[in-house]
Amino acid sequence: MSEMLHYVWLGVLSVFQGPALLELGGIGLPLALVMLVAGLVTGIAVGATPGLAGPMAMAISLPLLISAFGFTPDALLPVFGFLIGIMKGATLGGAVPAILFNLPGTPDAMMTTLDGFPMAQAGQPRRALRIAQLSSVAGDTFSDIVLFICAPFLAVMVEAYLDLPEKTALLILSISFIAAVMGSSVGKGLLSVSLGLVVAFIAAGTDLSPRLTLGIDALQTGVPLIAAVLGVLIVGEIFATLERLWHDNHALDVKAASDGSAEDGLQPGDIRRIAPYVGRGAVIGAAIGALPGVGSTLAATLSYTMAARRARRNPAAQPFGTGAPEGIAATEAANSAVSGANLIPVLSLGIPGNAAAVFLILAADSIGGFNPGPAVFSMPEGAINPQLVTVFGIFTLMSVGNLLNWVVGGGVMRAMGVLAKIPATRLLPVVLLVSLTAIYVQETSMFAIWATLAFGVLGWAMRKLAVPVLPFVIAFILAGPIERSAREAFSASGADPWFLFSSPTSVILLLLAVVALIFLGREK
């Protein structure tokens, strides 16, 4: 235990005594903190701009960050600081246009419009923003605490009890689960997963002559990870939104905002009113967030519906949909509580559960020296595990981020209301050029740009056909680990064809995968 505390301390130090941006009166301004603040402001701005979302900003800034900080271990915390800042800021920022203009800045802020906009219309926009901020930060903080406690224990358990066959089974379980819970049907979820796997398997084998290259020289190294991920996730979204705007130039325009009345701002008793809803929302969000693939939108919907049902039973309560503070609180607490818990499978197993987590893994992968997975949490005798120090550095950054969101988040949110007026028709083409350039700079090959556009078309088509895109990306990332662990397990067992069924644990995990596909997919 004391050893663990020592790591916590080292993690805190790695943030505060890490490389400094500049010295002020002899005290260095830690670079990681500066990047965190920059990320937070960017995140709130991006969240507040309709048509942009956190993952898009993370995608574009990643190649920039890597160019700026290089591939040394020193780069990890500043880069993670910025990305985590965006992640935390965007959930907060998404509420701004939702409340002020009835236009969700991010998909998970959809439910925020239901009570946030009526409250703003009733002359209390600042009160609505303030409630959103407090609930969001409270949910986020709770979620981070769950992460700090659960991730190390989960990792240690996995490392202690899971051998190669069980690790393979666990990976199979996670992608089946993702295929089952995301999107409108299991069939489409599985289609997305299988596409991701196939694309990732191109040229990724162990033969010295790469497989599935179709004789194309540029495919010898496979499809660049960043091209596939950004293509499907970002360029596909840009194409789809541009098409919507092409049909209707004003699809994303804002409606007039109302001015605040005299009774604006947080009202006495508000905190006590919303506290139980925030608590329940945070628990729902954290529980859902810990499962890979189940997004914050579901958490927000679930929390809002449950809160509304509770309110209906109480005749004295303000009905939901009329500007009830409880409605804003339930939604914002739940959708923010997803983000921290979502990192549990990322850090302890290397399995990303949402788009933000995908970019954290991408960052770790590109920089090197930090490989999310159980090995991160090992505490070797007589040596310091630098990866564990990085983890606690990340936890420190997350805590500081919450603190900042708590203290200054509200002010930044109010300032960003104006961003909702930027026309998406002009913003998105600029975002496309920036993304393509950033990808080129990282890959230095035109082929990467062509590939990005091709995957953009795929992402656009998937959106048109209601095939979920996130299973594609997650399967693409997990394809390598699944194949590797299966191959390793097979050869370590001395070529036993039944290696996947060699232990009760792995049989149970595989059964769960089948159960997930059959039963979770039936819900819709």
């Binding site: 920089i367 090197g368 390793e488």
Partner: protein, 317 residues
Amino acid sequence: MTKFYTPLLAAALLVTSPIGVQAEDWTPPGPITMYVGFAAGGGADTQARLIAQGIEETYGWTIIPQQLPGNSGLTLAAELAKAPADGTAFGMVVSETLTYSAQAAGDPALQLDKFTSLATTAEFQMGLVAMAGGTFDSWDKVTEAAAAGTPIRFATASDRQADMAWHLGQKAGIEFNIVEVRGGAGVMDGLRGGDVDIGWVAGAQSKSVQQGEMTNIARGIAAPLADSPDAPAITELGSDFYLDGYFMFIAPGGLDPAAREALGAAIRAVAEDAASEANALLIKGFGGPSVRIGADLDSYMAEADADAAELIKAVGE
């Protein structure tokens, strides 16, 4: 074939240099692209970038590093084969790329004689590694466990390493369960997690060995390992071959001899300059610089090529 080729090359060099451009006068006609056949951020990548940086500072040439990892360095070789042979394109791989891997892949356009070897920078500190204090922390324990019928999981990070594991097992009468993992880091993670029992690591084990977490139970190279001078060589354990190799720079075949000499000299100067960052990294992470250029390097590569052919033949039987 290369053995026959080398003297010819040397003769050609002697004949052409007085009339051609002198090496000391050579300058690249444009910016140099330096391909790096390793993942960004790793030790090998840092090494290549620091050497490029050193050359830029000392000689004023522009070098633009570009990542091109994958397929044991053959991806880089294929790209380099298309580049002009005027000294504006070279790349860092390991010596086994153009010997073992090229032969095993069998593409005639990517064989050793289609490239120009520029300079090595460091030799592998190849060890057979196990967890210290574990069940397999000496070769005797490995053979005893094998005799007792315990399956032994042997992690390898390349086809050549796997072949060498198999070959060593054949000679020692042990049938290892050979597990191919990704890179030396993959071997070490597997050892820590208990997924594998022993494995080859080419130098990344140094810190763990010094801290007493892991131990080299044998060495794959002729010279004693800096961290474990007592570890026996695998040839003493029965192997016919060493598992040796170098990090090295290569250029397209038929490179202008003046460019070859100038680039080789530049790499040597930076790698061996005690004031350079590259030199400090080579000492800290790679057992010190080990630069071989020109005819000396050609003869090493020819020998390694012949050894690789024999190993592939031995495993194929």
